[in-house]
């Protein structure tokens, strides 16, 4: 493994160079949230390299909220800095759905190919963070091009893909500062956060236990938790693995791919009126079945990466982990 070390002041110069050639996005701290913004030289000093999840899931870069999928827009190569592992892990499922099988989504494919992903090490956890419940780590493990760790005023970059290697070859970082491995302090920082996550999430059932709990016939559980659901769809829209969309028709046979959500009324209603997800509590249960039963079986990929966004976003204060803990009670 090659690790490239760069000091903070040199990194700032490096990003200034990148901004000339690429659209660069990174998390910026705002009043009540952290979210991705396009980086200009003036914003470089405001980038949050640690933290945890940004409000917007990574999927929005590859599967935008709204995208014309008949007339292609001109796209500039992009760099996304500061992507947490819960978002990177979601790409297993999204890539499988959009690029796998008989039909490839060329728009998703181009968006993916045009992007260099810098994974990050989370350095804090929010109350809803629970990637560890599903065996994920709070630092980049795969699905990114370069992993980035920050320690003591230095940035440590590790190529994670051939695309990442080619990128670092093209945009050279001071090659004299190449290390054979990450500094022990970075490794310790990572381990410390893993322990903190495990302690925070020790009561959350893992994928298999969750699956067994959800599959039980227990309509009362779903009715109880659906009581405060207002069908806003926020949990699905904000989820890094939710992939559902609706094609909206425009003039000249153009189509716009718009995010859609199974929690919204009418999502599954057919023209004649039948609707398998008519009842709110059945919609809620469907979401959990989709995440822990159907998607893992259909695509062999995890459909919840423990980012916790659905918990933070829920207007009805439905805590997905509390639902799962309850679903798993009673054997």
């Amino acid at each position: 493994m090659s690790v490239y070390r760069i000091s903070e002041d040199k990194w700032v110069e490096y990003v200034k160079e990148l901004v000339r050639e690429y659209q660069v996005y990174a998390p910026i701290v705002k009043t009540n949230s952290t979210d991705f913004e396009e980086i200009t030289p003036e914003k470089i000093g405001r980038i949050n390299y640690g933290g945890n999840t940004a409000s917007t899931p990574l999927k929005a870069f590859f599967f935008p909220f709204k995208e014309n999928v008949v007339v292609a827009a001109d796209k500039k190569p992009r760099i996304i800095i500061g992507v947490p592992n819960c978002d990177l892990a979601a790409l297993d499922l999204l890539d499988n759905i959009y690029l796998g099988g008989e039909f490839e989504d060329l728009y998703y494919k181009e968006n993916r190919e045009q992007t260099i992903l810098f994974g990050k090490d989370c350095d804090s956890i929010k109350d809803s963070c629970h990637c560890s419940a599903y065996g994920l780590k709070p630092y980049a493990e795969k699905n990114c091009d370069i992993s980035m760790s920050v320690w003591d005023g230095n940035f440590y970059l590790v190529p994670m893909s051939t695309k990442g290697e080619a990128f670092l070859d093209k945009h050279r970082i001071n090659q004299n500062e190449t290390l054979a491995a990450l500094p022990e302090k970075v490794v310790q920082q990572r381990a410390g956060l893993v322990t903190a996550l495990q302690n925070q999430n020790k009561d959350i059932p893992d994928e298999q236990a969750s699956r067994r709990g959800i599959e039980k016939e227990n309509p009362e559980l779903w009715k109880k938790h659906a009581a405060t659901c207002v069908s806003c769809g926020a949990c699905s829209l904000i989820c890094p693995t939710c992939h559902c969309f609706l094609l909206i028709d425009r003039r000249d046979f153009e189509k716009v791919k718009n995010w859609d959500a199974c929690q919204l009324p009418g999502f599954s209603r057919v023209a004649a009126g039948e609707d398998p997800l008519l009842k709110l509590y059945e919609r809620l249960k469907f979401r959990y079945l989709c995440k822990f039963v159907y998607k893992p079986d259909m695509f062999k990929a995890i459909a919840c990466t423990g980012c916790g966004r659905c918990i933070d976003a829920c207007l009805g204060k439905i805590n997905k982990n509390e639902v799962l803990i309850e679903a798993c009670q009673g054997g």
């Binding site: 490839e104 028709d249 046979f253 999502f267 023209a271 004649a272 159907y294």
Partner: protein
């Protein structure tokens, strides 16, 4: 983009509109490029600036220059469709999904149970079965509609009745003086048909309620679960297994269906709604 864009429709000229019943019309379309499909597969049909909906073509899959869709006026897109005139254009994408397993029907009797506008996909199947009738023992078609007025494809029924190896039974829920065939829901026709169940397969296509009770009756008659083929209808947007709308348990109906054998889906939730 050089590769195929799965979301871009092919333009197809509407050359003829046939009024099949007060609520059902057949649209004859000529796509800009030759278009082929397998019977039972579906296409996504776009009405420009309005919307898109899935339909299984009702024409012969052996015809590649033009195709027909038979559409019941039942929602937003189909209401606009029913106002369209020859010379206008629709968009088509596809074909998508898994159609009828014709090879499974070889050396067998084929029983077909259809209801209402479910005759549309069945007509495409019947065209195909006629073309391979030397490989089949017999085709029995039981068709039900609400009223005689709502019985579609009347000239085709006549033609079918004159075709060797094919027999047709019809029923209506509510008869009038002109009606000389059976009265009752379509499953009553099954009491009269003579089929060699161990050597036959059955296809069911129609409204969900008819599919539900039709399947129940067929199971009672002794049809094995894996010999009952159902053409499932779900809300669909992309038709490609990506948009998630047609999720039915472990399946996306668009990609894994729309034709399923009953044993494949019997444990899936809400199959009849």
């Amino acid at each position: 983009m050089q590769e195929r864009n799965i979301y871009k429709p092919i333009k197809a000229e509407l050359i003829k509109v046939i009024e099949e019943s007060p609520t059902i019309k057949t649209f004859v379309l000529v796509p800009e490029v030759e278009f082929s499909f397998k019977t039972g597969q579906f296409i996504e049909v776009t009405v420009e600036n309005v919307g898109e909906a899935p339909f299984t073509p009702s024409s012969s899959p052996l015809e590649t220059k033009q195709l027909e869709i038979t559409v019941m006026k039942t929602g937003y897109v189909t209401e606009i469709m029913h106002t369209m005139q020859p010379g206008q254009y629709m968009g088509i994408r596809g074909p998508y999904g898994r159609g009828y397993p014709l090879e499974e029907f070889y050396d067998k009797e084929v029983l077909i149970l259809g209801g209402g506008c479910g005759f549309a996909p069945i007509r495409s199947l019947l065209y195909n079965l006629k073309a391979i009738s030397d490989k089949l023992r017999k085709v029995t078609f039981c068709y039900g509609s609400k009223t005689p007025e709502e019985c579609i494809y009347k000239p085709y029924i006549k033609e079918l009745r004159e075709t060797p190896k094919f027999e047709v039974f019809r029923s209506v829920d509510k008869a009038d003086e002109s009606w000389e065939e059976k009265v009752g829901v379509v499953t009553v026709l099954l009491d009269d048909v003579k089929v060699d169940i161990p050597n036959s397969a059955v296809v069911v296509c129609g409204p969900p309620i008819m599919m539900k009770f039709g399947t129940k009756k067929l199971l009672e008659m002794g049809y094995p679960e894996d010999k009952i083929y159902l053409s499932m209808e779900k809300n669909m947007s992309c038709g490609l297994g990506k948009c998630g709308h047609c999720a039915m348990g472990h399946y996306f109906v668009c990609k894994d269906g729309p034709v399923f054998s009953y044993n494949e889906i019997k444990d899936s939730p809400n199959i009849w709604s």
